[in-house]
């Protein structure tokens, strides 16, 4: 089922697929939009958003990024978001096909903790359908919407969501562009570390 090229030798390419996951309205599409806007034009392709009326994602958002040559390898990234609404579980599973790294975007709003947990469980189940797990996948947590007065304390969210207790977590206000880049850099690092570990 799961299918992915690690390194395309003819082209000396390494392709990494990063998926932004999390409950609906947590800020996944916002993260991607910010990255796309901040990246120099020549490094990124067009951003495709398959959204319903309003800002809810229907299928996925996607853009490719060409990082350039690093250590003799051309590194290309594929960045995706999933639709967070519970209803779209089937499409979330499809987007996870061949995933290398996940950014789990949690909503800091105290009232969204149940949704965060449900989404994490949903991620676990969907990874399992590809023979993967929360432990074997490169995952970074992002606690978004820290600007909300109703934001839960970080320690609380860590206890609730940091299942393995050793995922890196970042606080963010994605809509203001805060915390988006550090999260992105960390997930790439995690992916590459695993690649090294696998050899």
């Amino acid at each position: 089922m799961d299918f992915k090229m690690v390194i395309d030798f003819a082209r000396r390419e390494l392709v990494c697929k990063i998926v932004y996951y999390g409950p609906t309205m947590s800020g996944k599409t916002t993260n991607l939009t910010v990255l796309h806007r901040k990246a120099p034009k020549e490094t990124v392709g067009r951003m495709t958003s398959l959204a319903t009326y309003g800002d809810r994602t229907l299928f996925f958002d996607f853009f490719p990024m060409d990082v350039g040559v690093v250590n003799g390898l051309r590194i290309k990234l594929q960045l995706y978001t999933v639709p967070g609404q519970p209803f779209y579980v089937a499409t979330r599973r499809l987007v996870l096909n061949g995933v290398d790294g996940v950014v789990f975007v949690a909503d800091s709003d105290m009232r969204r903790m149940k949704d965060n947990l449900e989404s994490l469980r949903d991620l676990q189940e969907n990874l399992a359908s590809y023979g993967k797990s929360l432990d074997t996948t490169a995952i970074v947590l992002q606690y978004n919407k820290r600007d909300l007065p109703s934001a839960a304390p970080v320690e609380y969210m860590d206890r609730l969501l940091n299942v393995t207790r050793n995922w890196c977590s970042f606080e963010s206000v994605a809509v203001a562009g805060v915390g988006v880049l550090p999260t992105f850099k960390k997930v790439l690092e995690e992916v590459l570390q695993r690649l090294k570990w696998q050899t």
Binding site: K4, M5, I7, R11, A39, G45, N71, Q193
Partner: protein
Amino acid sequence: METRAYPGKFVLNDELVEAINRTLLTLLEKTDARCVLLAGADGYPIAVQGLTCNMDIRSFSALAAGAFSSTKELAKLAGEQGFCSQFHQGDKHHLYMSSVGDKAILVVVFDNRTTIGMVRMFTLRTASQLEEVLEKTPGPSEEALGEPQLENLSESLRAKIDKIFDEK
């Protein structure tokens, strides 16, 4: 160095890329299509032949793979194993997509110079040829992963990304 297979992943070497390109070119000529594309099931383009003009290949691939896998799930819900091919008819341009095993999809963009019958026949034939070709893809071998500089790759990438986003 121990070679532990990255689950389900594979490496394409020059020989395979050449074989794939040759096969795609033959399909293009036989069907008189505008262009043919082989995309991985994960949406990444593997090879393309023909007139792509200013088509955004990467988006095209990602969307084709998304549409294809979505239809496959539809098939399952309808009690089918999966639809192995799909046809989308437009005014001037049409799309024919066929699965290549469960690893990839083959997409043919054609116009009214040719017919759906021709396209279907040759595409299905090519899909099974490509399936054989992809069968031969080796797992990540020692030499394959050994050659590029994986040492410090993470650090080097970090520096590169920092530079790209020009962050202090």
